[in-house]
C-alpha cells in the first residue's frame, strides 16, 4: 500500500508514498462519489437562477457545511501550519481566528444586503443596480481575478500533494483534479457545488478530528512540550508574541473585511441560504472553519517542538511531511482525502462564482440586458466559463505562474472597495462617482507603499502612517457598525484612530504589508465621504434595487422525483 521508509522526525529524507493503485482508487471514489451526488440532483433543464444561487432557499445544514467547506482550502491548512511553525504557539490563532472572523463579519452586512436585494446573484450585480457599470465592473473584475487565482492555487496545492505522496507527477495531479472538479460541477453548477460540499466537509472535519490527536501522541504527546521546549525561541514560546501579531495577525485582521465583502464565493452563499438562516449559518461556519484551521495549524506547532526541518526547506511540505512521518497507511489515505476535499470544495466554489459573474454581470446585465437575457444562453455562458476557467487555471498551474503579486493586488482592491460597498448599502447619498474615484485613489495610494516603490523614511512615512491610522479606525469602526449600529461604529472608529495614533504614527510604515492594507481602507473612506458630502445628487431609493435585480429565469424548475435525494 505504501512505499518508502518511515524515518524519525529529524532525519526525514524520503517520504513514504501511497502506491499508485491506491491513489487511483481514492481519486475514483472521491470524484466518482461527488459526481454521483451531482447526478442525483441534476435536472435535464437546469434553471439559470438555480445554477447561480440554488434558488435562494437552501437550508441550514447544507449552507453551513458549504460555507465551511468553501472557506477551508488547502492553502489555508498549509498556511496555518506554517504560521504555527514560524511564529510558535500563537501562530495558528493569528491565522485561523482572523480567517474565521471574515465569515462572521459578513452576516450583519449580509442581512442588510439580502434585505435590499433578496433575489440577487452577485454583489457586483447589486452595485450595478445601486450605482451603475463602473462600480459593478470593479467588483466583478476583482472577483474574476480572485477566483482564478484561488482555482490556480488549489490546483497547484493538489498537484504538489500528489507528486509528493504518490508516484504520479505534478502535471498528472493537476489534470486529474481539474477534470474531477469540472466533471461534477459543470451540469448543475452551484447546486452541485453545495451538495458535494457537505460530503467533502464531513471528510475534512472527520479527518481533523482523528489526525491531529494521532500526530500529537505519535510525536511524543505531552512530553514533547518538555523535551522540545529548547527548539523554540522566546517569541515562539510566548502566546502573546508581538512578532506573531504584527507579521501574521495584524495584516490578516486588516484583510478580514476585504475578503468578507469582496469574495463572491461568500456572497453567493449569502444569496443562496434562506434569509432567516443567515446568522445561524455564518456563525456555525465561523466555528467550524476556525477550529479546523487552528487544529491543522497545531501540526506546525508540533513540528516546531519536535525539531522537524521542512523537506527541501519548503514550509509548504510541512503538513504532508508530518502525515508521512507519523501516520500509518490508512490514516495517510484519510489525510490525502482531507487535502483533496479541501481543495476541491473551494475549486468548485470558484468555478460557480466565476460562472455566476459571467452569467449575471457580464451577459445578464451588460450584454443582453436584464429584460432580454435568455436563461438558456445564460446556462451556456456559465458552463463555457467553467471550462475556460479550468483550462486557464491548468495553464497557470503548469507553468508555476507566480500568483503572489496578483493576490496582493486583488486583496488591496477588495480593501479599497470595503467602505464604498458597505456605505452604498446604508447611505443613500453615496454616488457612483464617489464609489469609483475613491477606489481608484485608494489603489494608487496602496501600491507604492505595499511594494515599497517609495522611500517611507521621513515625512512620506509619517503621511503614510497618518492614513494607515485612519485605516485602523475605519476597520474597527466598520466591524462595530456591523454588529452594534452607526453610533457605536463611529465612536469605536474615532477612539481607535485617536488611541492608536501616538503608537502608530512613526512606526507603522516599518510594516509595508499592514500599512498598505490600512491605507487602502483609510484613503477610500476619506475620498468616498468627501465626494458624497459634496454631491448634490438626488438621494437613492433602496427599493429600486429589488426592481433592478432578481430572477433571470421565470420558469419554475421541474422536479424530477427520481432525482430527489433520499
Amino acid at each position: 500500500m505504501l512505499r518508502g521508509k518511515r524515518k524519525g522526525p529529524a532525519s526525514v529524507g524520503d517520504l513514504q508514498q501511497i502506491a499508485w493503485p491506491v491513489v487511483v482508487i481514492l481519486m475514483l471514489v472521491f470524484f466518482g462519489g461527488s459526481f454521483y451526488m451531482s447526478v442525483r440532483i441534476s435536472r435535464k433543464k437546469e434553471n439559470a437562477d438555480g445554477y447561480m444561487t440554488g434558488g435562494g432557499k437552501i437550508g441550514f445544514g447544507i449552507s453551513a457545511a458549504s460555507m465551511t467547506a468553501t472557506w477551508i482550502w488547502a492553502s489555508s491548512m498549509y498556511a496555518s501550519a506554517t504560521s504555527g511553525y514560524q511564529f510558535g504557539i500563537s501562530g495558528p490563532i493569528h491565522y485561523g481566528l482572523w480567517g474565521a472572523l471574515m465569515i462572521l463579519l459578513i452576516y450583519p452586512f449580509g442581512k442588510r444586503i439580502r434585505a435590499v436585494a433578496p433575489n440577487a446573484h452577485t454583489i457586483a450585480e447589486v452595485m450595478f443596480a445601486r450605482h451603475g457599470r463602473s462600480s459593478q465592473l470593479m467588483l466583478a473584475g476583482s472577483n474574476v481575478l480572485g477566483s482564478l487565482i484561488s482555482l490556480t492555487s488549489n490546483l497547484i496545492a493538489g498537484g504538489a500533494l500528489i507528486s509528493l505522496l504518490s508516484p504520479f507527477t505534478f502535471t498528472q495531479g493537476i489534470l486529474a483534479i481539474g477534470a474531477g472538479v469540472l466533471l461534477y460541477t459543470l451540469w448543475s453548477g452551484f447546486r452541485s457545488s453545495v451538495l458535494t460540499d457537505f460530503a467533502q466537509v464531513i471528510a475534512m472535519l472527520g479527518a481533523v478530528v482523528i489526525i491531529v490527536p494521532v500526530v500529537f501522541f505519535a510525536a511524543g504527546g505531552p512530553d514533547l512540550f518538555e523535551q522540545g521546549a529548547s527548539n523554540l525561541t522566546a517569541e515562539q514560546a510566548n502566546f502573546f508574541s508581538s512578532k506573531a501579531f504584527f507579521e501574521q495577525g495584524a495584516p490578516y485582521i486588516a484583510a478580514v473585511l476585504a475578503y468578507a465583502i469582496g469574495n463572491q464565493t461568500i456572497a453567493q452563499r449569502l444569496f443562496a441560504v434562506r434569509e432567516d438562516l443567515i446568522k445561524k449559518t455564518f456563525v456555525t461556519a465561523t466555528v467550524g472553519y476556525g477550529a479546523t484551521i487552528i487544529g491543522v495549524g497545531m501540526l506546525g506547532v508540533i513540528a516546531l517542538y519536535a525539531g522537524i526541518d521542512p523537506l527541501g526547506g519548503d514550509v509548504n511540505n510541512l503538513i504532508p511531511q508530518m502525515a508521512a512521518t507519523y501516520l500509518g497507511p490508512v490514516l495517510i489515505c484519510l489525510f490525502f482525502v482531507m487535502i483533496i476535499g479541501s481543495l476541491s470544495s473551494t475549486a468548485d466554489s470558484d468555478l460557480t462564482a466565476l460562472s455566476s459573474i459571467m452569467m449575471a454581470d457580464v451577459y445578464g446585465q451588460n450584454v443582453a440586458g436584464k429584460r432580454n437575457a435568455n436563461p438558456k444562453t445564460m446556462l451556456l455562458v456559465g458552463r463555457v466559463t467553467m471550462i475556460v476557467a479550468v483550462v486557464a487555471a491548468l495553464c497557470f498551474a503548469s507553468i508555476q505562474f507566480s500568483i503572489l503579486d496578483l493576490l496582493v493586488f486583488v486583496g488591496a482592491l477588495w480593501g479599497a472597495l470595503v467602505f464604498p460597498v458597505i456605505s452604498s448599502f446604508y447611505w443613500n447619498r453615496v454616488t457612483n462617482k464617489a464609489f469609483t474615484v475613491s477606489v481608484l485613489v485608494a489603489l494608487a495610494a496602496f501600491l507604492p507603499v505595499r511594494f515599497e516603490w517609495i522611500d517611507l523614511s521621513g515625512g512620506v512615512g509619517i503621511v503614510s502612517d497618518v492614513f494607515a491610522t485612519i485605516g485602523i479606525g475605519v476597520v474597527l469602526g466598520l466591524m462595530a457598525f456591523g454588529f452594534f449600529g452607526l453610533r457605536t461604529g463611529l465612536v469605536i472608529g474615532i477612539v481607535a484612530s485617536v488611541a492608536s495614533a501616538p503608537f502608530a504614527i512613526g512606526f507603522l510604515h516599518a510594516y509595508p504589508v499592514l500599512s498598505g492594507s490600512l491605507i487602502a481602507y483609510g484613503v477610500s473612506t476619506i475620498v468616498c465621504v468627501a465626494f458624497t458630502l459634496a454631491s448634490r445628487a438626488k438621494r437613492f431609493d433602496f427599493d429600486l434595487i429589488k426592481e433592478r435585480t432578481g430572477s433571470f429565469d421565470t420558469e419554475a424548475p421541474a422536479v424530477e422525483t427520481e432525482g430527489v435525494v433520499r
Binding site: G61, T68, G206, V212, A291, V559
Partner: protein, 42 residues
C-alpha cells in the same frame, strides 16, 4: 504548562467534532423535510 499546552492542542479537534455533529444532524433534518414535501434538498 504541559497540561495547558496539551489542552490547547487537543481542544480544536473536540470543537471540530461538535461542529460536525451539528452539521450532520441539520443535514438529516433538511433531507427529511425535503422528502416529506416531495422536493429536492436543493
Amino acid at each position: 504548562m504541559t497540561l495547558a499546552l496539551t489542552l490547547y492542542v487537543l481542544i480544536w479537534p473536540v470543537i471540530v467534532a461538535g461542529t460536525l455533529a451539528v452539521l450532520v444532524s441539520a443535514f438529516v433534518k433538511d433531507a427529511r423535510e425535503a422528502k416529506s414535501k416531495g422536493e429536492q434538498i436543493i
